[in-house]
């Protein structure tokens, strides 16, 4: 058992090694880099499976391996790895999906000149995410968290020669950084309050009863329990990373990166990190549930943000015309679902949905990548169409992904995970609103995905690119097929009737008794959404690329607003962006005039004292010495006048002196 925990660090270390190999390999070393990356992921997958088997032996245990990183005075900063079912399931998912995406990238990026660099970054991304999963210390988690941010920046901006890609990379990095500030503050506060950042540490960790009890017992500003405040700060980080409502703006723009990167970001690595973080610190987030008279519970905020995000993402996805952007907003919406599940207290349901979503969203993105690759980088669904025939594998697998995403009943994984979330929302006693929002989003999801599939695969080809599209090689279709199988199969580990996964993650997990009513309702809503989508888009396929959308003709202003993402980017540009500009101008003025003036003044002062010093030295001290020596010289000149060189003069003086002497002797003698 111990030996397995000691193997845990290898799971992130191997992809990191692969990234290092990739970084040191010259550009032509394509085989070496991609081989190293895929090999490392394969071994990590094997290790993860072994770790999962070990974790399932005793699902309630948190096996840890802690070690001191460095000492600061008496305090010791400790890092560690933890092995529990949460880590193990996530590791298996990330390595498996990551491996398939890597293999897909072999085909997708085949023609790119920077193939080597791409695989180096991919490995780094996977390594950071895996490190985040195995971390038993909020600090180690934060380090990996930031590495994930860095890798996402590098990959979104992989085609940095495109200005849009460079801007999107910057946007993703800066937007998530806003959330990370909260996470950092929460982490510092947590360390200040408990003196530790380890999650599990034999009773001394921050997620264990002793620390939680002390965090709940203290209140801080606004009557919040300390645990609530810290939980909300940590949640800020998750909001940024998982593209939740106020900070969602970066996620759709991240589509500027290569499609495998989008798949990786949306399925396995980046956005999963936020949900995982909240699930990991769930004991901290839910600690304040025992308190009755606090202004707000941390989980209530999580549920509210999740509900808003789920609705917002689903609404905006209806109005998008870019195949990847539709999927991006669907990710935003699905992440909202996960946060909602976390908020209503069903964190195993959230992780279940995270796992199933990872498979079918990776499938959808890789399917979209397959379409884009075949259609010569045409991403506009209005210009695609009719791809059902030439791209049969892609079409079938994409259809599986779509059915899983909308929660097509019984067979597909998305149905069971969404069911779990709906049931959890149903059982939440604080407010019924999240349930209504989630049900409404179910309709919207079915509607926009039907629209996407109809526009892309049905009807006639509406551009030359779509006309000449043909199926992709096996490196791209085989991962699609494997993921399609998973999109179906993964759901059966956590059905409503046999919630094995949820029970493994949390032995106390309860399914709310709602009878068949809720399930039938959601099935009905899915059917309604599908029917609506088929009526509008399927019955009369789009004829021309330039023809207006049926919704656009019906409600042009609403559709335009949805297409413009309800104007959040513009809003941020007008408020935060302008504030930032003003702050920049202020800082510029401050720097240029105030600080610079101060510096100049100090410089002047220095110069002045230098002048005083020089003058004092030259005029006063030197002058004094000069004057003295001049006097000496004058005296010397005066005396030297006596030295005429005339012997008679000397003799005369001698004679006079002699006479004076004689006179003195004679006068003295007479006395």
């Amino acid at each position: 058992m111990d030996s397995t925990v000691q193997l845990l660090w290898l799971i992130p270390a191997l992809p990191l090694l692969a990234a290092a190999i990739g970084a040191l390999t010259p550009r032509r070393g394509r085989g070496l880099t991609s081989g190293a990356a895929i090999g490392a992921m394969t071994i990590s997958l094997g290790l993860s499976v072994r770790v999962l088997i070990e974790a399932l032996r005793d699902p309630t245990a948190h096996l840890t391996l802690n070690f001191a990183w460095f000492d600061l005075g008496d305090a010791s900063l400790r890092l560690g790895f933890v092995l529990d079912p949460l880590t193990a399931f996530m590791c298996v998912m990330v390595t498996f999906v990551g491996l398939l995406i890597f293999i897909f990238s072999l085909g997708y990026m085949h023609e790119d000149a920077n193939f080597t660099r791409f695989f180096c970054f991919l490995s780094l991304f996977a390594a950071a995410m895996l490190g985040l999963l195995v971390a038993n210390s909020l600090l180690l988690l934060f380090i990996c968290w930031e590495l994930v941010g860095l890798a996402s920046y590098l990959l979104i901006g992989f085609w940095f020669h495109k200005p849009a890609a460079a801007a999107a990379a910057k946007k993703a990095f800066i937007t998530t950084r806003i959330g990370d500030l909260g996470l950092l503050l929460g982490m510092v506060w947590l360390y200040h309050s408990t003196g530790s950042l380890l999650f599990y540490d034999g009773g001394h960790g921050v997620l264990e009863t002793t620390a939680l009890a002390s965090l709940v017992a203290h209140t801080t500003i606004g009557g919040l329990a300390v645990s609530t405040a810290i939980g909300l700060l940590i949640f800020c980080g998750a909001v940024g990373k998982s593209g939740q409502f106020p900070l969602h703006v970066w996620l759709p723009d991240a589509m500027e990166g290569p499609t495998p990167v989008s798949a990786l970001i949306h399925a396995a690595t980046m956005v999963a990190a936020g949900v995982f973080l909240v699930a990991r610190v769930y004991p901290l987030m839910s600690a304040d549930q025992t308190l009755a008279n606090v202004p707000i519970h941390a989980l209530t905020v999580v549920a509210a943000i999740g509900a808003i995000t789920a609705l917002f993402g689903a609404l905006v996805a209806v109005g998008q015309n870019d195949i990847k952007r539709v999927l991006a907003f669907s990710t935003v919406s699905q992440l909202g679902y996960m946060m909602l599940a976390l908020g209503v207290g069903a964190w195993p349901a959230a992780i279940f949905h995270l796992l199933t979503h990872a498979f079918f969203k990776a499938l959808l993105f890789l399917g979209a990548g397959s379409v884009i690759h075949a259609a010569h980088h045409e991403q506009d669904i209005r210009k695609l169409g009719g791809l059902r025939g030439p791209m049969r594998v892609t079409f079938v697998t994409f259809g599986f992904g779509m059915l899983a995403l909308i929660g097509f009943p019984f067979l597909f994984s998305g149905f069971w995970s969404k069911e779990a979330i709906l049931h959890a929302a149903y059982g939440w006693h604080v407010s019924p609103l999240p349930l209504y929002v989630a049900l409404f989003a179910v309709v919207l999801t079915a509607f926009y995905m039907t629209r996407l599939v109809m526009e892309t695969f049905f009807g006639r080809a509406r551009s030359d690119a779509a006309n000449h599209a043909h199926e992709n090689p096996a490196t791209m279709t085989v991962p699609l097929a494997i993921l399609a199988v998973c999109a179906v199969g993964v759901g059966f580990v956590g059905t409503t009737y046999w919630p094995w996964l949820q029970r493994t993650l949390d032995p106390h997990f309860e399914i709310e008794e709602s009878g068949l009513g809720l399930m039938l309702l959601s099935i009905g809503l899915v059917a309604f959404g599908l029917a609506l989508g088929w009526t509008i888009y399927g019955r009369t396929p789009r004829a021309k690329a330039t023809a207006p959308d049926p919704l656009e003709t019906a409600a042009p202003r609403t559709f335009a607003a949805l297409g413009a993402r309800l104007g959040f980017d513009e809003l941020y540009a007008a408020t935060v962006g302008r504030l930032n500009d003003a702050a920049a101008v202020f800082a510029d003025v401050l720097d240029r005039y105030v600080w610079d003036g101060l510096v100049r003044f100090l410089a002047l002062l220095g110069e002045f004292s230098g002048v005083v010093n020089r003058d004092g030295d030259e005029d006063v001290l030197n002058g004094g010495f000069d004057a003295t020596s001049k006097k000496f010289r004058g005296a010397g000149q005066l005396y030297s006048r006596a030295q005429t060189g005339e012997i008679h003069g000397y003799l005369r003086v001698v004679a006079i002196g002699f006479v004076v002497l004689v006179l003195l002797v004679m006068l003295g003698g007479s006395r």
Binding site: T644, I647, L651, A655
Partner: protein, 105 residues
Amino acid sequence: MSFSPLQLCLFFSSALFCIGLVGALSRSNAILVLLGIELMLNAANLNFIAFWRYSPTASPATGVIFVIFSIAVAAAEAAVGLALVIAIYRHQRSIRLQEATRLKG
């Protein structure tokens, strides 16, 4: 008014000294100045002899030997002095002392 032999001797040597001094001061010829100095020296020698001769406790030969030494030193000095005069003459083709001012500081 009558003088003792010692007094007469001292008068005489004083006169001799004064003549030498005036000669040394008033002449511009270096050789004549040297002559004046020799006269002053001899006046001093004369005093030695006189004080020895008329001293109540004179030991034999003291004054004479003193004077003989003095004359010997004076001779050496005269030799040096004449050598200087020749050196001066070689430099400026003249032995006028008023012109020999080049050694001033």
